[in-house]
Symmetry: C2
Subunit: 145 residues, 2 copies
DNA sequence: ATATAAGTTAAACCATACTTTAAGTCAATA
DNA sequence: TATTGACTTAAAGTATGGTTTAACTTATAT
């Protein structure tokens, strides 16, 4: 029925200290305590923590996540705000994917570059490459001299 | 021919203090100085900084970037190591994209969830949804009660 | 009953990546 | 030539997201 903080931490693959930190920052207002003060994590608390993980991993700061949690506690009057928060985060994530894919292209170019350099035994050789020898998708990264 | 630190910072859209920090951390050993000690950024230095930006934005720590730069300075004997670094980073980036796409799916589910809740005027209504009313791709996130 | 493993808090500490400050030098323009 | 804006450094400060420590309590197994 309930998990201890150590069990919850293991399920979520985080340190117990991280869960205590989230609690202190107001991210876990829903966690019940035993009579002696121990945190008792329900299945639904684990679900909440997965959402927290998701928002955190996609770059939302702790304070932003707290606002979202607070809204959820306030009830149906905040549905619109919660939707707005998530839609905004969705846009952020889409932008992140675009950016990281652009960075991947540059890394792909560099992998190609050093693969060629390894074959040639030096990076000097690449400077004499005629434009035709450079895969088209990499030409935008290639600057002579 | 040369850019000042302020000009370079504007081109790269970073703060001059960030460039000074990178220099202090050993990321910019190639930057020349004027007789009076001012940094002079060449076009090729801007290219290096774009690579630094790329590695940094894809999660490589400053120390990792420094190692890569050091290798480049050491010359052709480090081509293999540089290639390894970039291949490893490429794998990291691919994993990052996969993870963020998984997170996007969860956010998409939440956007759907609160869109439905907004229509219904409450989140309670969703708890009575029959499985058929939940888009298939979201069912894995939907837990009753 | 008692040892030990795991829980509690507040407060201090850490890592990363910068930014800001202070005190001073340099460069460009009126 | 004087002033203003941009540069220099070292050192301190900031923000974020935790972890660690110390002192203590609780839970579990023998």
């Amino acid at each position: 029925m309930f998990y201890t903080i150590g069990e919850a931490a293991k399920i979520l693959d985080v340190a117990p200290s991280a869960l205590r930190y989230y609690d202190k920052e107001g991210l876990l207002p829903f966690i019940e305590r035993s009579e002696s003060g121990l945190r008792m994590f329900k299945e639904s608390d684990i679900d909440w923590l997965k959402i927290i993980e998701c928002l955190k991993a996609t770059g939302m700061p702790i304070k932003g996540i707290r606002r979202f949690i607070e809204c959820a506690r306030e009830g149906d009057g905040t549905i619109k705000e919660r939707l707005e928060i998530l839609k905004t985060q969705r846009e952020n994530v889409i932008r992140q994917i675009e950016e990281i894919q652009a960075h991947l292209e540059m890394i792909d170019y560099k992998v190609w570059y050093y693969s060629e350099a390894l074959k040639a035994g030096s990076t000097e050789a690449l400077k004499d490459y005629p434009e035709q020898n450079i895969p088209e998708k990499f030409r935008r990264y290639f600057r002579k001299s």
